[in-house]
Structure formats: C-alpha cells, structure tokens
Symmetry: C2
Amino acid sequence: MVAPALSFTPLPGLPAVRAGDDLAGLIAAALERAGIALAGGDVLAVTQKIVSKTEGRRRALAQVTPSARAQALAAETRKDPRLVELILQESHAIIRTRPDLIIAEHRLGIVLANAGIDRSNLDGGEDEVLLLPEDPDASALRLRRALERASGVDLGVLITDSVGRAWRRGTVGLAIGTAGVAPFCDLRGRRDLGGRPLQVSEIAPADSLAAAAVLVMGEAAEATPVVLIRGASGGGDNMPARAALRPRGEDLFR
Amino acid sequence: MVAPALSFTPLPGLPAVRAGDDLAGLIAAALERAGIALAGGDVLAVTQKIVSKTEGRRRALAQVTPSARAQALAAETRKDPRLVELILQESHAIIRTRPDLIIAEHRLGIVLANAGIDRSNLDGGEDEVLLLPEDPDASALRLRRALERASGVDLGVLITDSVGRAWRRGTVGLAIGTAGVAPFCDLRGRRDLGGRPLQVSEIAPADSLAAAAVLVMGEAAEATPVVLIRGASGGGDNMPARAALRPRGEDLFR
C-alpha cells in the first residue's frame, strides 16, 4: 500500500476566540489535547475568520456613518449603506457591481466580493461584520514563529479565505496570508517527459493547498477553523501571499 | 491522534498511454500492483493529458492549415499560426489576447489560455499538441463506471486540468470533467454558529479537490497522472463539471 503524499486533518476542540486571544497558544493547546505532535514541514491552514476575530477586526454597523458615495453605491447594489461604507474603506477600487454584488480590489490587492467582509459566524447578530486581518502575511508569520517556538520544528502557515471566481460557480479557498509555504513556484528550466521546457511555468502551491483545506474546514456551524496539512513541500520561505498578486500591468480583466 | 479527513495518494507505475488504450484497465492494474484496494467513496483524479492521449486527441501541427483569421491572430499574439488555428477550432470565443497569450472560451464553456491546448509531455517533439478531451464529463463517467465494475465499490472520478487565474500568479488544478463528485454544492438553508443563514451559499468541491490533486501530480518529468483522493464527501451523483460554469448572464468579466 502506497502512503498518502498529502493529508488534511481538521483540528478538533479549538474554542471560540475573542479579540486579544493568543491564537498560537490556543492552537498549540488544541493540538496537544488532540494528541497531535507537529513534525517538520507541517503546514497549518487557519481561516481568516479566527485570525480577524483575535485581531479585533469586528465592526458594529451601528457605528458606521455611510458617506454619500457609499449611499449611492448601496442604492445601486441594494446593499446596506453602512456595509458599503466599510467595503469602500477596505478597498483600493471597485471593479464590478450588480444588484447584491460588489467586487472590489481589497487594499491588500486581492480582488473579491464585498472586499472580504464577512457576516457569518459572528455572535453579535445582524449588526456585526468582520473585516479581513490588517496584514494576513504578517499574521501568518507571527503564527509561524510562535508555533515553531512551541513545537521546536519548522512549520508553514496559511491564512485562508473563501472566494468566488469570475467564470465558475461556487467558492474555493485561497491563501491570503502565507509564511513558509510558496504562494507561487517558478518551474521554468524544468523539463517535461519529452525533454522540452515545461509549458506551465508557474504553479500556485499555497492556493492549491488552501482550496482543499477550506473544503475540509467546512462552512456551516460544525466548521473547524484550523486544518493540519501534512506532506506539502513547503518552500518559498517567508515569501508573502501578496507576491502571488498578478502585477497590475498584466491584468486583462479589470 | 486524529485521523486525516482527506488524503491524496499518487498512483505509481502507470505506463505511458497511447490512443485506443483502455485507461480504466491500466489504472485498475496499476492500483493492484501498488496494493491499493479502492473503498467506497474514493475519488480518482486523472489528468486530462492521459485521457486526451487515450482518446486520440493529439494533433500534428504540420497537418494544420491556418485560416486568414488564425494568421491575423497569430501575428498579433506572436504565436504559431497552426496552433492558433487549433485554438480557434476548439473555441466559442476569444476573450482576451496579448503577445504570447490567447484566453479563449473553450467550446466546453471553460475560459482558459490557449483553449487548453497543451504542448508538454508529448514525445512527438515540437510539432505535436494535445487537445482537451472531446467531452471530459463523458470521459469521467466512462472511467467511473469501468472502475466501479472492476472494484465493486462506489467511486468518483475527476478529470483535471491546470489553469491560470485572472488576478493571481500561478496555475491551479480545475475539474473539467466530473462523475460522482459535486462540481458545486448549494449550502443555502444551512446556518452558521450564530444561527444566521450562511453568507457563502455555494462551494466548489470538485475544483477544490482538483487543486490539491494537481499539486500532488506535479508538472515535470516525474509527474504522476492519477491521484487517489480518500475522504472526499462525494455527492453530486453524476452532476457534470459543466454545471459549474457561471451562466453567461451572470458573467461580469467577459
């Protein structure tokens, strides 16, 4: 029997988190309770939701005053003007709109619906939303360093989010923050079976791992926010996820 | 120790395939040699390259006569006019071009570079290319039925390809054909931790699995064209991958 090359294990027993919590400490404790000893090369995929919550990124809509621009865009898209105000504050540019949908370039450079602002899995009711982490690459690096200290082995960390695609139904996981996992990997110079240079010259390991990790996390009430990935080839050292953003000059779909 | 929820195992020892080969038979034999007994719910991810090869989808560029339209587009994009002719034949529409790049809507509805035509991993030298399978959903269903007969258990099959993204560097795997794995899954009606209806209403399980499977397959000479996925929740019965195409009227990026 051949051993799996790559496996995804959801981490059970992580408690609900609050602003100011030590997320790395909570993850290390949950790993210990689950009897999981981290090994060198392990990667932890962590949903942005719990990173954002520990970093105090909740916002109460009641405290948001929509600008005139937010009110106009809200009328056009039939969205809550206070939510639209936060979308505008979190974005560099609005890329496309239609009723019920605003696709924005987040200030992190990621193109996604509602600038990544989430209304799910908050206990504050209809009035609370959650912004993306301030700097997910920095969050990933902090988690990596703290978990490496706790475990004594080299690790990778992915901060994941769930995003829609331009031409396909359904969301997939994406790595919005990385540390110790390559966001992209240049294969130029490698050869195919026929000895020719590879046609595909860049692959996206971090996003590929995030896709399966987010599937394992699930989206509903029984969701698990942290998944252990074993067998990923890592690499990329501390190359940040923002390195995977397509340079503006190469963008054909803006 | 918690068991992995999801694992990916590359299948060793599959021989190079030729047009007319019985791919299901070759996969079943390789599984047996590797000592892998398929279990109910297992999913086999199979790269489109070997499906296309067994289906006789190689084309010799020397036998292609470029049309005037192909010659004009080739001049504009600095590509081989014979390759551009095949891209046009395989496409419904050209979506974007720039030097060295043609993004097309393949006749299957998938938006991808060069209409999915591949020049890697062919032993015919510079002059041969490989088209996508004629109908990858039908290919997936045939493989599923044949492997279910051989193994006696319920299986899923994904036909994968590797595609670029609009706003991010690096390719990720996509499920261009599915049988027994849901291309998308509607979560509407489910509730989050706070009891609110989920904000994310559709996820894309087949593409999420394909992403990690293609990472495990690799792209270079040592690539393995078949990966066993264990722990996927399956579903979707025989819903085809084409069901995951975003309806034209909802497309904001054409």
